[in-house]
Every structure is written in C-alpha cells, then in structure tokens.
C-alpha cells in the first residue's frame, strides 16, 4: 500500500516525531515499500485463528498487592540533572 506525503506527515504527527520536510520523500518511499511487504498478510485466510499475543500463550502472573521495594529516592536522584527538596526538577515547558 503506497502512502502519500500528507499521510507520512500525519503519521509523524501521531507518533510525535519531528521529521525534516526534506526527508518526507524518503520516508514516503521506505514506508510504502515496508507496507507493500506486509500486505502479503492480507491474502492469508485467518478466519477462526485466535491471535497469538504471547508466544507461550501465558497469562499475566499476579502477586499480592504489597510493597516489595525499598525506597531508593536518594540513590535514584543522584543521577538526575536537577532536584530540589526530594523532587526531580524539570525545565518549564508549559506556561
């Protein structure tokens, strides 16, 4: 399936990815060829085939709702660029 350039721009917006206008043409070509490759799937009869989400068909393991980790705030904050009063500081981006 071939994508047009506006679809490429829309997908990039959906994925929150800035792409240069000069690269749109290359993305259009590459993404279209990848979608051509995966279009082979459309021809396969999958009626009554259960999708396989986990290779071992496993279900999510549950555990007791109990705290199992120690508080390591000071250790984790050692690698942060900026902290204050036990909080991580993030540059203001929303006025």
């Amino acid at each position: 399936m071939a994508l047009d350039q506006n679809q490429v721009r829309d997908i990039a917006e959906l994925a929150r990815l800035q792409i240069d206008e000069t690269q749109v043409d290359e993305y259009q070509k590459n993404l279209s060829s990848i979608l051509d490759l995966v279009d082979q799937l459309a021809a396969v009869d999958t009626a009554n085939v259960e999708p396989l989400a986990h290779p071992l068909d496993a279900v999510q393991r549950l555990r007791a709702d109990a705290v199992t980790e120690d508080n390591q705030r000071e250790h984790f904050q050692q690698v942060a660029p900026a902290t204050a009063e036990g909080y991580f500081l993030v540059p203001r981006v929303v006025e």
Binding site: V8, L37, V44, V49, P55
Partner: protein
C-alpha cells in the same frame, strides 16, 4: 590469555596460572590497542573492572571463589548497569546513567564475573548490520569493510576479535544468531521467558530475549547457567526449573531426529552456502542422527508479520522517550508538543523513526484489525507449523543467514532488502522458540552459520548438539586472520 575460552580461563584462575587482575589488565590493554579498528565498545569500565578483578582475587584467596569468580565478560549496551552509561546505541539515551542493574547483570556480578564494559549495538536493537548506532558502525574482525551483523554486532565483534571471551546479547528477530553467523561464533537465543528481561531496554516485548555470544557451545552453557531462571521482577519470565546446561553437553546424538525444512533450503540460496550447511548435516549423520525433510509452510509470512508486530510494540515501548523524564531533551522547546516532537525527532535515528512510524500506523484507528490483529493471527499459524514439526523431529536445522557478512553500506538504502537478511531467524522469535547459530564452514574466507532450532525450553539439547559437532569439527576454532 586472550585466546582462551571462558572454560579455560576459569580453570587457569582456579589453578593460579594467572590472577584476575593480570588477566583484566591484559584484556583492557588489548581493547585500548585494537578497538579503534572495530568500534565494538561504547564504554570501557576500566576502573570498575580492575576493582572487580581485585575483589575476585581476594575472594579466591579467602577460599570463597565460584566457578565464575574473576572471569571477564562484557555486556550489550541494552542492559541497564548501575552507575554506568546505558545508551542502547542511541543519542536519545546518550546521557542516561542507569541507577540499577538489570537482572542479567546482577546475576553475573553475584557470581563474581568481571565486566569490561558496554558493547556497541544498533540503536534500540533495530538493525541487521550494526550500522544504525549513534556511536558509529562496528567492523567485522574477519573483514573490516564488512558488517558484523546486528543488532548485537558489538558483542559479536568483541568476542571474534578476542577482546573478551564471551558477551551478553539480545535477539528480537535474529540479533544474536545473525551476528554469530557473520563473525564465526556460537550464539544462543533461549526460549522466550527463559532469561529475565528486567532492566533490558525494551524494543518489542513479546519477541525480545537475552542470550549469549561465545566461541563455543560449552561457554554458552556456562553463561546460561548464570543467566537462566525465574525472576519475579519480569512478569513474562517463566517459573520453570533450570537444568545444569554444562552437564548435558556430552550426551550421545545417536537416534536424534533432525528436521530439514524445505522452505529454508531455497533455490536462491547460493550453492556454496547450501554446501557448507549440507556438509554440517552430514557430520551429524556420522554422529548417529537421522535426517527427515519437513515443511514449515507459513515461513514466507514470518517477515511480514514481524514487521507489523515488532514496530507496533516498539512504537508503544519507545513512547516513554519523550524528553521529559530522562534521556535527550531538545533546546528551548516552545510548548509541550514541540518538546515531544523535537526531542524525539532529534534523539532517534532514521531506522528507529521508520519503525515507530510503521507501528503508529499499524495501531491507528481503522488499521488495527487489518494489520496488527492479522499479524498476530499469522503468528499463531507460524507457531503451529513448529508445533506440528516437533511432533516428528527433535531438532530443526537450517542456514542461519542467506549470505555471509555483506559490505558496509551495501543494503542501507533499501530497508526491505536489509529486513530480508533475517529471513531464517525471525520465525523463531514469533514462535518464542530457542535457536542457536554455530560456525559450520566458510565461503570466500567468511564464516557461515548453521542454525539449530529447538523445542520450547530445550536449550540443553541445542547446546548438546552444538557441542558434539564442535568435538568432531574445528570451524569454531577458526579466527579472523589479523587476530594474533
């Protein structure tokens, strides 16, 4: 010392032939002298390695040494390491120092192994050539104009160049087996869930699996004895007893039934490649194995299904890289959307952006059923092929790759041509089965890999079969010409 295997080193350290500090100094010096050619390391943890080696020697002197105490290894830069840069080969994480150890790292630290550092890789494990790293391409020690394979290319090149005797690696679509084949190594991708993924930066969570790159099957067994086993921190890790993999290596192969899938011996595979693989299978027959032709009829759908499922999962996993909490952040964002888009646009490389976009598209409203659900249905058909095959055979064999290592730049312009490099490896990840690649010949002085595919949790049989082959052949002993 650098030509020794893990098993040799453990024996020598035990007998006092050399100390861990002497060995570590030798390996670090070798990395410093040679790695500018291969670019296999992103970070060399010199001081930490020497401190670990000193502690290992002290532990041995005190009579508390384990088998692994003082043995050097190195880790793919996808595993979080406490206090050490964990970049995943990306500009996005080029400032990320992990504040904890992945379970795999923790287990090697616990037995006293010495880590020499973090190994280069395709960005977020996306690639089949190791040309997609923010830290530059890795060179194949067999021919430095050629790729080592991806995405664990740094791990493979470092082991092939004898900079480290063994390395951790990960495999989402062939990223252990393909570089093993290209660099003349033994690579093991275990069953999905056999090794904990906790602390391993996620690419495609239902496919990713940690494994080993070593010089032979015995060393792979030794690494698996440390890595494998249940981890409560990883909800996909399987709670099942772990055998002693080394203890199973010497079992006889008499009566073993080998399945040869006709779809993997295709007409477009070169005659030279076919011949090497067929010669290896003949060796197995001499060892008492029987050969049976089988069919895996949905093989041709593995790559199309993978290139929906893996990008869909990666678009979700990589959404956490948003410039807010950790990793790369753009300068002077105008608003929150600008912060997200420019941080991600500037922080990710082209292949990662390509896969995120395919994933975002496949998961978007209106396309989910046609792409994602369809791919998961096809995935079940692919798994069912293997389930049927393993009713008739004990092990399946095939070539690992369609060609030996190709030249750098040869396939970068065409992503689909690059994706087809993983044509023999990818189906196993979709099914969650274990697989190995072992050296079985050479074409144009470049290594050729034989792929061994096992049933679920049958890593022991794979390692046994690989080891027995390596007892009667010497392909695994061949080294790149420039390695002294």
């Amino acid at each position: 010392m650098h030509n020794k295997t893990i098993a040799d080193i453990a024996r020598d350290l035990h007998s006092g032939e050399y100390s861990s500090v002497e060995l570590t100094q030798h390996m670090l010096q070798r990395i410093e002298q040679l790695d500018s050619t291969y670019n296999s390391f992103i970070t060399v943890t010199q001081q930490q390695a020497l401190a670990q080696a000193k502690a290992a020697d002290e532990r041995r002197a005190a009579g508390n040494a384990d088998f692994w105490t003082g043995v050097p290894i190195a880790h793919k830069d996808i595993f979080c390491t406490n206090g050490v840069l964990t970049s995943c080969g990306s500009k996005m994480l080029s400032n990320f120092v992990a504040p904890y150890d992945a379970t795999v790292i923790d287990r090697f630290n616990h037995v006293g192994a010495v880590s020499l550092g973090k190994l280069n890789m395709d960005e977020f494990a996306m690639g089949s050539s190791n040309e997609n790293s923010f830290y530059g391409a890795v060179a194949n020690p067999w021919d430095t104009d050629r790729v080592p394979g991806g995405s664990s290319g740094g791990s493979a090149a470092a082991v092939a160049a004898r900079l480290v005797p063994g390395a951790t690696a990960t495999d989402t679509g062939g990223s252990i087996r393909q570089p093993a084949a290209f660099c003349g190594l033994t690579g093991l991708k275990p069953t999905y869930g056999r090794v904990s993924r906790w602390g391993m930066i996620a690419y495609a969570s239902s496919l990713d699996q940690a494994g080993t790159l070593t010089r032979n099957a015995e060393d792979a067994a030794l690494m698996m004895n440390v890595m494998a086993g249940f981890d409560a921190k990883d909800s996909t890790c399987v709670d099942q007893a772990v055998p002693d993999y080394r203890a199973e290596l010497n079992n006889s192969l008499e009566g073993l039934t080998i399945g040869l899938p006709k779809e993997y011996f295709r007409d477009d595979l070169s005659a030279d490649m076919q011949q090497q693989v067929r010669n290896a299978i003949a060796e197995y027959e001499k060892l008492g194995a029987k050969v049976k032709e089988i069919s895996l009829p949905n093989t041709h759908l593995a790559i199309p299904a993978y290139y929906i499922i893996a990008p869909a999962e990666c678009s979700a996993n990589l959404s956490r890289m948003d410039g807010v909490r950790f990793g790369y952040r753009c300068d002077d964002p105008q608003d929150i959307n600008d912060l997200y888009k420019r941080s991600r646009g500037e922080g990710f490389g082209i292949e990662v952006k390509r896969r995120i976009m395919v994933g975002a598209y496949a998961l978007s409203a209106g396309f989910y059923d046609a792409y994602y659900k369809k791919a998961q249905q096809v995935r079940r058909l692919i798994k069912n092929d293997f389930v049927e095959a393993f009713k008739e055979v004990d092990i399946i064999m095939s070539p690992t790759t369609p060609t030996p290592a190709f030249k750098r730049g040869e396939k970068t312009a065409d992503p689909v041509a690059m994706y087809l490099e993983d044509i023999f490896t990818i189906a196993l990840n979709l099914a969650g089965l274990p697989g190995m690649s072992i050296p079985c010949g050479e074409v144009d002085q470049l290594p050729v890999g034989l792929q061994l595919i096992g049933n679920y949790f049958d890593e022991s049989r794979l390692l046994n079969a690989a080891h027995q082959y390596q007892q009667v052949t010497d392909w695994h002993l061949h080294a790149p010409a420039d390695i002294a």
